[in-house]
């Protein structure tokens, strides 16, 4: 009577499902959804007092602490080994709104921080392109923003942080104590141990509104002129490049500063999108092809050329336009995307060569963003931002063809003293990493012997 599948004997041999921990997790991916692989286990730290035990029980070079995995490549992955998910460490620990000092656990997102501090007249000194990153991740990648020329990277605004390492359960690092570890942890890609909490200096602002301006530029020289003119007077500057411009890059230059007086009951507040629009799973990768990208770029440019030049805009719309789409990375389909963010000397010739190389290849970047870094140095040993230009590109991942193009771009960027940004990288070679970060050996000395990542093994091991 009994069908074999329902046989009673099976239940006796396995009364309970085998714990999934042993089976590996294939569902973990970074924001670029490339590369793919399986992790052995994903541990989770629900309270900071559990972290030392997690590290103590880990094998050598086996664990990587992580946050929301908004890094594009494999710097937040640890294939074949363990991840320590720190996102439940999301408590605020201390705040002094007289002096603008905030201390919170590493899993708190920038979104949560802004929600807490903006109504009290404070602002994060550095903001990336999304609010959905954790503070720990922001520190581990030493993030920079549109105000790099004014404020530098986030590492400059840290007062102290608590690090948990396999050899020391709690270690207070600051510019005055454990200086080397402090500097290694900033931009340290999570390899120096687990950041339990961090304390930073906030920036006072008069309102959550920004006065934004934009100008269309028709050549690189115009861009340099605009950036030179605006970087002194404006807090935030960034440029969008039209991916299909012919010989000379064209685009739109955005600049903004905080609106001076509090804007009460501005009608715009109500119009802000409450919920992010979800992007469906399983969009075919072919949806993003040179034709649709061209269409998007043309439409975007057309819109920017016609819309108002100066307007009052809420900080969320200005900094996080893509946060209004939930999981926008799914637009790229199964194959995912690769980002390419490099640092270039301020030489229009090199930038032109780079863009020419891309246009010859026939591959198209969906978004191209250009920004001039200021000369405020970061304390991080592995810090990416340095004086020069930074260009960010994102390509739909099309296998070998795409990787080959990026290697060719490396050949232009690196010989002239450029660098690549690990947070966005999924493919740089050992040589490329080591030439981008000449200090990497000094950094290696500060790594926690129990920590490692796919990225780190790729760029340092044979």
């Amino acid at each position: 009577m009994a069908v074999p599948v329902f046989s009673r004997r099976a239940s006796v041999s396995s009364p309970v499902p085998e714990s999934s921990l042993g089976r590996g997790r294939r569902d973990i991916e970074s924001w670029g959804r490339y590369p793919h692989g399986a992790h052995r286990r994903v541990l989770r730290a629900w309270w900071s007092d559990q972290v030392p035990a997690c590290l103590a029980n880990a094998g050598p070079a086996s664990i990587l602490p992580g946050g929301l995995r908004r890094s594009y490549g494999d710097s937040c992955l640890n294939f074949g080994r363990d991840l320590l998910d720190c996102t439940p460490l999301d408590r605020f620990l201390f705040a002094d709104f007289q002096r603008g000092i905030l201390r919170c656990e590493a899993g708190v997102t920038l979104h949560e921080i802004l929600r807490m501090v903006v109504p009290r007249g404070w602002f994060l000194p550095v903001l990336p392109g999304t609010a959905h990153v954790t503070l720990g991740g922001a520190i581990a990648n030493d993030i920079h923003g549109k105000n790099h020329h004014r404020q530098g990277s986030i590492g400059r605004h840290l007062r102290q942080l608590m690090l948990s390492r396999s050899d020391a359960p709690e270690l207070l690092c600051s510019p005055n104590s454990e200086i080397e570890l402090f500097r290694a942890t900033i931009g340290g890609l999570g390899l120096t141990g687990v950041i339990l909490w961090a304390e930073m200096q906030l920036k006072p602002v008069s309102s959550p509104w920004l006065l934004a301006r934009k100008s269309v530029f028709k050549s690189l020289d115009e861009f340099f002129y605009l950036t030179a003119q605006n970087d002194d007077s404006e807090e935030y500057t960034v440029a969008w490049l039209d991916g299909f411009a012919r010989s000379d890059p064209q685009g739109v230059f955005f600049s903004a500063s905080h609106a001076p007086a509090p804007v009460e009951n501005h009608s715009g507040e109500a119009s802000l999108q409450r919920h992010a629009f979800p992007v469906a799973r399983g969009i075919p990768g072919q949806c993003l092809n040179p034709w649709t990208i061209r269409l998007f770029n043309a439409a975007y440019r057309n819109y920017q050329e016609r819309s108002t030049r100066t307007k009052l805009i809420h900080y969320r719309s200005f900094f996080f336009p893509l946060d209004s789409l939930d999981n926008w990375n799914r637009i790229y389909g199964r194959g995912g995307l690769v980002q390419y963010q490099c640092l270039l000397p301020e030489d229009p010739g090199i930038l032109r060569r780079l863009l020419a190389k891309i246009s010859i290849s026939g591959q198209v970047s969906f978004l191209m963003v250009l920004k001039r870094f200021g000369n405020l140095a970061s304390p991080g040993i592995l810090a990416f931002p340095r004086p020069g230009l930074t260009l960010a590109l994102d390509f739909p991942m099309r296998g070998r063809r795409t990787l080959q193009l990026l290697d060719e771009l490396d050949a232009i960027v690196l010989p002239c003293g450029g660098a690549l940004y690990p947070a966005k990288d999924a493919r740089m070679s050992r040589a490329a990493f080591q030439s981008s970060f000449p200090n990497w050996r000094r950094f290696r000395a500060a790594i926690d012997p129990k920590c490692s990542s796919s990225f780190w093994r790729r760029v340092t091991e044979w």
């Binding site: 009994a2 069908v3 329902f6 009673r8 099976a10 239940s11 009364p15 309970v16 499902p17 085998e18 714990s19 999934s20 921990l21 089976r23 997790r25 569902d27 989770r44 629900w46 309270w47 900071s48 007092d49 439940p88 408590r91 605020f92 620990l93 201390f94 705040a95 807490m116």
Partner: protein, 246 residues
């Protein structure tokens, strides 16, 4: 909701509930086992703008400590109108199904101590003639399954207990809510696969808060699709259920 006592406040769902009612101008008493974590949680809630947060350290498995927590609540909050019982333990099912000590402990934490606590606090609400008692049970209590029938029977028993208590307190105008979450992404379900089926503690907490405010429904399934799903599973005839091994 003006004053709330949360038993097992360090559980992932209770923490989210506490965080979400911060804006509602509520005074709270958080009861849990670890003083360090309770202090951390209180600091966080205060910084998020909570009106008043009291903490009390107690191991609620112990009936004396339960009573101490009750008396502390009566002393500090005096006239609390909501109780949320949020603790529970799903012991590692791998360790021992055939170990009677393991079974006893599972039943003690999830049923015996919870029923005792509810009885204790019911006294307060009965006198008050108003208020809301809520306890987190589980969809696992709706049907015995090979994977977790020990935990399930404790939670199922608690659901039955709450049903009786609800009927008893009905004439006094006190509402009793049975909360039945599906699997939620908390430390309790670390071994659960596939992960995609886990509900987020934030959304479960949001539904709990809504129920506490409205004082209904009597039985809250969260996420809501568990109600028809469990109705279906409960309706499966025993011989089929036994052979399905789900």
């Amino acid at each position: 909701m003006k004053k709330i006592v949360i038993l097992g406040a360090l559980s992932a769902i209770a923490r989210q509930v506490a965080r979400q009612i911060v804006g509602h101008d509520v005074e709270m008493l958080l009861v849990g086992r670890s003083p360090r974590r309770l202090a951390e949680l209180r600091r966080d809630l205060q910084l998020r703008g909570s009106k008043r947060v009291e903490i009390f350290q107690a191991d609620l498995e112990n009936l004396e400590e339960q009573r101490a927590a009750y008396e502390y609540a009566r002393r500090q909050l005096v006239d609390f109108d909501v109780l949320l019982l949020a603790y529970g333990a799903l012991l590692d099912p791998k360790s021992a199904v055939c170990d009677s000590q393991w079974v006893t402990r599972q039943l003690t934490v999830n049923f015996v101590s919870a029923a005792a606590a509810l009885t204790l606090f019911a006294e307060h609400f009965e006198k008050r003639m108003e208020g809301c008692l809520a306890a987190i049970t589980s969809v696992a209590g709706d049907r015995g399954r090979p994977a977790n029938y020990v935990y399930g029977s404790a939670k199922g028993g608690l659901a039955l207990f709450l049903q009786g208590l609800r009927a008893r307190l009905h004439p006094c105008g006190v509402s009793v809510i049975t909360i039945k979450p599906g699997p939620v992404d908390t430390p309790m379900t670390e071994f659960f696969q596939p992960r995609r089926l886990l509900a987020r503690p934030e959304s479960v907490a949001a539904e709990i808060v809504r129920a506490l405010e409205r004082r209904r429904p009597a039985v809250l399934y969260t996420p809501a699709y568990w109600r028809p799903l469990m109705a279906g599973i409960r309706a499966l005839p025993e011989p089929i259920m036994r052979r399905l091994q789900i």
